[in-house]
């Protein structure tokens, strides 16, 4: 089977998520797709999976274009997409997940459990999984779930397997096993689109390489070792280095935020000091405990021990509200679910937590609210600068600016800013603006900033210091001025040998 993406373009409002992208994925080939967050990888995958329809262009399967962009249509045409957040149903057994919607029945009604279990075992054996058919998915590790999802794809006769950063949450050993399985599937004639930003994986697996940047294809070639690695690094990162980074705050600035042996279930106690105006990256893979630590500091998860100090004062944080009262704020990782009030105006999204500080005898002071919004909107170059436009209508980058504005406006009184994956789903142009804004705010307002991220480029561009987190433990501290993207990659993925 050959899947041909022809001049695919997807437009969201005024932004082009992907712009005239073409590529070909053939049977028995692994096609690696690289690019930053927001480069357009996810949009391309969503089109392949039928989750969204392109604005123009087409996807051909063996020369026949997909007519209807619908998940069922994609599955029936042999495309299986394995998203980073797996789509298995946790409360169902492995076998039930494999046959969901295609149950085997006797006489058209009675579920044939034995046959389902037999076939499930066969499919699991093909992917090298040790799970039993009647285990609940909930009880499996992430790595095992991934194998189940691949088994499900095989069960549904997938001809093209799309994998979205499949090793991001895996241990090194699990990642190795997955790599072998993928090579094995390639030998059996599967077409594979492999999304990653680890060059080590590309070197081990890829037959073809495509790099997206800003929604466009900026590089495409068959993989050839040696010479290519260096070139890929520069193509992916667009030469963006630590050039725009701000100088570190001088040594005599006092500590703003101190953690002393802060402990939480699943985390090894953490001790860190962050100065006013300093940006510290909390860098690790998905599932390394970055979000857990941030949510613990913000009082959303229970802290089992240790001490937190803001400006030398020990603070007792038991809930988000108490964290905010002590000047500690979190911009959550899931913007839509945990941050935004999509149908409410931008100005209310921005001032939701600070409105009461302007009010007189309980009534909102609308003029003051407006002037605060105008000031922060201008500082962050919010586009469009439309206070009454519902927040959901802004682009991803501008939605993120609205969430930042919630904590850094003139009324908020925030001293410590925790950011969880701040550029997820943000297009490249806006990414750089968000970096600029964070750096500027940290400097101007003397914020202590802790940013959780899994992107080495983000660490390079944003942070003064980098804490490396692996499996709930901070294993290393790196001075960003004296490191490189590759060194950072090696730090969280010891086996991913990259261009050195």
């Amino acid at each position: 089977m050959t899947v041909t993406v022809r001049n695919l373009t997807k437009r969201y409002g005024a932004t082009l998520a992907i712009d005239d992208v073409s590529l070909e994925i053939r049977s028995g080939e692994i096609h690696a797709l690289l690019g930053h967050n927001g480069a357009g990888k996810s949009t391309l995958i969503r089109c392949l999976g039928g989750g969204t329809a392109p604005s123009s262009g087409a996807i051909d399967i063996d020369g026949e274009p997909i007519q209807r962009y619908d998940p069922r249509e994609s599955i029936s045409r042999g495309i299986a997409v394995i998203y980073q957040h797996l789509s298995l149903i946790e409360g169902l057994s492995v076998a039930d997940n494999l046959f969901l919607g295609q149950e085997i029945t006797r006489a058209g009604v009675a579920l044939d459990k034995r046959e389902q279990h037999r076939r499930t075992r066969a499919a699991l054996a093909r992917v090298g999984s040790i799970a039993a058919p009647d285990t609940l998915v909930r009880d499996l590790s992430i790595g095992q779930r991934q194998l189940v999802e691949i088994a499900k794809a095989l069960q549904r006769d997938a001809k093209l397997l799309v994998l979205d950063e499949p090793t991001a949450a895996l241990s090194v050993a699990e990642a190795d096993r997955l790599g072998e399985l993928i090579l094995d599937l390639r030998h059996q004639g599967m077409a594979i689109l492999y999304v990653t930003h680890l060059l080590g994986e590309v070197a081990k697996l890829a037959d073809q390489v495509t790099v997206l940047r800003n929604g466009r294809t900026v590089f495409h070639a068959p993989w050839s070792p040696a010479a290519d690695k260096q070139r890929l690094v520069s193509v992916i990162s667009d030469g963006a280095g630590p050039a725009h980074r701000r100088s570190r705050p001088s040594a005599d600035v006092g500590p703003r935020f101190e953690l002393v042996d802060v402990a939480s279930p699943g985390l090894t106690p953490v001790s860190v000091t962050i100065a006013a105006g300093e940006v510290v990256a909390l860098y690790g893979l998905m599932g390394a405990g970055r979000s857990r630590l941030l949510n613990t500091l913000f009082g959303r998860l229970e802290r089992s021990g240790g001490d937190m100090r803001v400006d030398g004062q020990s603070v007792r944080i038991v809930s988000p509200a108490s964290a905010l009262a002590h000047g500690v704020a979190l911009v959550p990782g899931d913007r839509q679910k945990e941050g935004l009030f999509a149908s409410l105006p931008a100005i209310e999204n921005t001032l939701i937590a600070s409105m009461s500080k302007t009010s007189r005898v309980g009534m909102r002071n609308v003029q003051r609210e407006r002037s605060v919004f105008d000031a922060i909107g201008e500082l962050l170059s919010l586009r469009p600068h439309a206070p009454s436009l519902p927040a959901g209508r802004f682009s991803g980058g501008n939605q993120q600016k609205i969430l930042l504005a919630r904590w850094v406006n003139a009324l908020s009184g925030i001293r410590v800013l925790l950011l969880d994956d701040p550029t997820q789903g943000v297009d490249v142009g806006a990414r750089h603006e968000i970096y600029r804004v964070i750096a500027e705010l940290a400097e101007r307002q003397g914020l202590a900033v802790l940013v959780a991220t899994n992107e080495p480029e983000e660490v390079m561009e944003l942070a003064h210091r980098c804490l490396v987190m692996v499996k709930g433990r901070i294993v290393d501290e790196i001075d960003v001025a004296a490191t490189s993207t590759d060194e950072l990659l090696r730090a969280i993925h010891p086996d991913a040998a990259t261009a050195a």
Binding site: G13, A14, F298, R300, P320, A321, L324, A325, L330, P332, K337, E338, G339, L340, F341, A342, S343, L344, E348, I352, A353, M355, S356, S359, G362, M363, R364, V366, R383, P384, H385, A386, L389, R393, S395, R406
Partner: protein, 335 residues
């Protein structure tokens, strides 16, 4: 400028499609019967509407915050019965009767609030349960109807102030206070925020438990107050019949008024229109001589039709907005 004004009017009507439908019905029925807009007739509509409105106001706020209160029909009965017990045979003092009725309603609200906001139970299930249980409490308190409450208490039902029935004054004041609260106070905006995205509100430090907690208590209090108005009008408090189906009338008015059952959307103005629409529709059917069975059929279908109309208009508005925001965004890119 005239085109600007006409655009604003069109915009306003698009936002309130029910108002257009209401005006059409009023004009048609008035022309057909000549009696719809008589003061005598309007008075009846307004008093019935006021009783629904008093309860619909806090209930609508609960729905905006993403909750629901189905117990108000029985709470109304409980309030009515308590007032009736105080006033039985015109013995007691009317202010005490009203106060105790409101207090009884507040207790039901408190019970709902604790189960939903502290224990985290579903508001639908909890208030469905209290709907049944509180009816039983009302009947236990007063198995036989109390009646003859005397002229002073009766004023609450039939009395007027400057020619307008007292219950209508109460509803009007509540509407204004509630609208000011929702639009002009931080807590009012938090009601919407909780309804749109509770988790995000929690992470923004909004009091996501306290606000609905208070609203549940207000809803109970309002139902108790409405109960006193009803029994004052009837001059009787039959515990088994008071407020039967009242919670559905309240919910219908709220939904007609454009409050989304999914939360986060709607205005007090919309609720007022919804209450009036329901009252005028039912009254018009009576004036047109439609039999009471057909009245139920018609008012049920009208609810569906009105909501379908809102949905269509909503989609048209979204399409228009999307086009507008595209041009705004395009403009922003150019600059």
């Amino acid at each position: 400028m005239p085109s600007h004004l006409s655009r604003r009017i069109v915009d306003f009507l698009l936002k309130n499609p029910l108002l257009v439908l209401l005006l059409v019905i009023v004009v048609a029925v008035q022309l057909g019967t000549g009696s719809l807009l008589s003061w005598q007739n309007m008075r009846g509509i307004l008093i019935d509407g006021a009783i629904i409105a008093i309860v619909a106001i806090p209930c609508a706020m609960l729905v905006i915050a993403g909750y629901i209160d189905l117990s108000v029909g029985s709470t109304l009965a409980l309030g009515g019965v308590v007032a009736g017990m105080v006033m039985n045979g015109a013995q007691g003092s009317p202010p005490v009767a009203v106060l105790l009725a409101v207090l009884a309603g507040t207790c039901v609200g408190l019970f709902n609030a604790v189960l939903v906001c502290v224990c985290g139970f579903s508001s639908f299930i909890t208030t469905l349960g209290t709907l049944t249980a509180v009816r039983g409490v009302a009947q236990l308190l007063s198995p036989l109807p109390k009646n003859s409450f005397g002229p002073d208490f009766g004023l609450l039902g039939v009395g007027t102030l400057a020619g307008v029935p007292i219950s209508v004054w109460i509803a009007a004041v509540l509407f204004i206070v509630a609208a000011l609260f929702l639009v002009r106070t931080p807590a009012g905006r938090h009601v919407y925020a909780i309804g749109v995205n509770r988790e995000a509100a929690y992470l923004s430090g909004v009091k996501v438990r306290r606000i609905p907690f208070v609203l549940f208590m207000l809803s109970g209090a309002a139902a108790g107050l409405a109960g006193t108005v009803v029994v004052a009008r009837l001059n009787s408090a039959p515990s088994g019949q008071l407020g039967i189906g009242f919670e559905l009338a309240v919910l219908t008015a709220i939904l007609l008024g454009g409050i989304a059952l999914t939360g986060g959307e709607g205005t007090m103005f919309g609720v007022a229109v919804g209450v009036l629409f329901l009252g005028i529709l039912n009254n018009s059917l009576v004036l047109l001589g439609v039999s009471s069975f057909w009245q139920s059929v018609a008012s049920g279908l009208a609810l569906i039709a009105a909501i379908a109309l809102s949905a269509v208009v909503h989609r048209v508005r979204l399409a228009l907005d999307a086009r507008a925001s595209r041009s705004v965004a395009a403009g922003a890119q150019v600059t």
